[in-house]
């Protein structure tokens, strides 16, 4: 009986130790950004000195003299060691974005499943000329780091007045491939270079909806007040048209061509102007 008790007690203690080290790795991965350099120590402020002392105290377990930021953080400390990004607010935001991306991915997969079925049906009936990769599912980008990086880039683009104006002025069903900006599909496999280029082109196109510099102030304010939240998800989850799989530079050519072909579409005049920018970028 007493033996059993002692055993249990010991078990308790080792478990305790174990879980503490779990705690460590948990906290430490939020420090990623800080690890990239001496930045962190240089950004320490006087007010935080006390907390740092506490970490150093804890570091006696690491006689190999590793940097204090690699030692077990006491529970008080996780925060101090991360540079600006590690405050709770940012942690929760990162967490939120990660979960959003995962949720999007599941939706995207469901969509693909649905779309593959209809695609097959269509092919048998009309013998559509566009065929190639029907295995859309094999072509998904699943690397979380990549997805988060892409999401961040997309968020930057969407967090603009031009984007707000665009989604308000051009309803989704009016948007035409090749003419209107289309958010790059973050779930498709692209090389980094191709992706970055797509983002760049997308942003350039969005600039066509930049608010007019003068007299348009009221209009701008109007747009701030009416955020179109429902639209945000829709755009990203557009089922990828097959044209998407083309290299960005190729699709650019078609964009330019189609803009020249039919200029009677209700696109803002500014689109014309962006062409030169695009070409400059391409050069």
């Amino acid at each position: 009986m007493s033996d059993w008790k002692r055993d249990r007690r010991r078990g308790a203690h080792s478990e305790e130790r174990e879980s503490r080290s779990v705690g460590l790795s948990r906290w430490s991965h939020c420090r990623k950004r800080g690890v990239d350099g001496n930045l962190r120590s240089s950004s320490k402020v006087d007010g935080r000195e006390k907390d740092n002392d506490r970490h150093i105290e804890g570091s006696h377990r690491y006689p190999d003299g590793r940097h204090s930021s690699f030692t077990t953080p006491e529970s008080t400390g996780p925060v101090t060691r991360c540079s600006q990004q590690a405050d709770w607010g940012s942690q929760v935001e990162d967490d939120e974005m990660r979960r959003d991306v995962h949720r999007d991915m599941q939706r995207y997969r469901r969509r693909i499943l649905g779309a593959e079925v209809t695609e097959r049906e269509r092919k048998t009936s009309s013998g559509s000329s566009e065929s190639n990769d029907s295995k859309e599912g094999d072509n998904i980008e699943t690397d979380e780091a990549v997805l988060l990086r892409r999401q961040k880039q997309i968020n930057y683009g969407k967090n603009t007045l031009a984007y707000d104006r665009y989604i308000k002025e051009v309803p989704k069903h009016m948007r035409q491939a090749g003419i209107h900006p289309k958010t790059p599909n973050k779930f498709r496999k692209y090389s980094r270079r191709s992706w970055d280029q797509q983002i760049k082109l997308w942003k350039v196109k969005l600039h066509a909806w930049d608010p007019p510099s003068e007299n348009g102030l009221n209009e701008v304010l109007d747009n701030i007040e009416e955020p179109d939240l429902g639209d945000v998800m829709d755009i990203e989850l557009d089922f990828p048209s097959l044209a998407d799989s083309q290299n960005a530079s190729v699709s650019l050519r078609t964009h330019l061509l189609s803009v020249e072909d039919d200029d009677c579409l209700g696109t803002p005049v500014k689109v014309q102007r962006t062409e030169s920018t695009v070409e400059a970028d391409m050069a």
Binding site: P78, W88, G89, Q91, V92, D95, L229, V232
Partner: protein, 226 residues
């Protein structure tokens, strides 16, 4: 319905503060979303929570309302960011707070647990708060805190409210916490019988899957029938 109880709580603020909070709670006036200073709203709520224990139990819902409204309004999270960072700042100074005023410390724990309970990210608890909340509860389970009925009461109340959620996200630390509670119940000298009662109840509560059996409930909660 919710509004009325929010209003009731808000009465305890001074007049300016009431106006400010009411505007924030109404989801910002449509004509000028920038007229509400969310940073200020946030610090008022936190300050009040640290002073007023009743408020600290309710503040989570108010914060939830504001966070929702801000997200709807402009997809923003200024309020949440300020709130969390302020909580973090207070967390760092918690030992000093406790040394200064047990009451404020208890208010802080109540508040952070309430926020943990109400604010979710995609319906999941905010991971960033899990360890801090555990740290606070572990602190309350230390021998010196167990001597203090106010702190035991707070600890037990928080575990009633969020114990199950906390265990789901990290059961190891919950085990760790309950080792302390068992030791406290069993071995610690000088505990008041009230503190022992509270500890015993929470031990039974968790053992029953975060529920009291009806007989246990009768034992702890029915009026003395003599």
């Amino acid at each position: 319905m919710e509004n009325s109880s929010d209003d009731y709580r808000i009465q305890s603020f001074d007049l300016d503060t009431q106006v400010l909070l009411k505007t924030a709670l109404k989801g910002f006036c449509i004509s000028d979303p920038n007229s509400v200073n969310l940073e200020k709203v946030c610090s008022i709520i936190v300050d009040q929570s640290l002073k007023d224990q009743v408020f600290s139990k309710e503040a989570g819902r108010i914060c939830y309302t504001i966070v929702q409204a801000e997200a709807k309004q402009n997809n923003g999270n200024v309020f949440r960011r300020n709130l969390l960072n302020r909580l973090q700042q207070e967390f760092k100074g918690r030992e000093e707070t406790r040394a200064r005023s047990i009451q404020e410390w208890v208010c802080y724990v109540t508040f952070i647990c309430n926020i943990f309970d109400y604010l979710k990210v995609n319906n999941m608890p905010m991971v960033a708060l899990v360890h801090p909340v555990y740290d606070c509860l572990m602190r309350l389970a230390n021998p010196d805190a167990l001597m203090n009925e106010e702190e035991v009461d707070c600890l037990v109340l928080q575990l009633h409210r969020i114990g199950e959620q906390l265990e789901k996200v990290n059961s190891q630390r919950m085990d760790e916490l309950f080792f302390l509670l068992r030791d406290g119940f069993l071995l610690q000298e000088g505990l008041t019988s009230m503190a022992r009662l509270l500890l015993l109840e929470i031990l039974e509560f968790r053992a029953g899957g975060w529920m009291l059996s009806s007989t246990a409930h009768k034992y702890y909660y029915s009026e003395i029938a003599d």
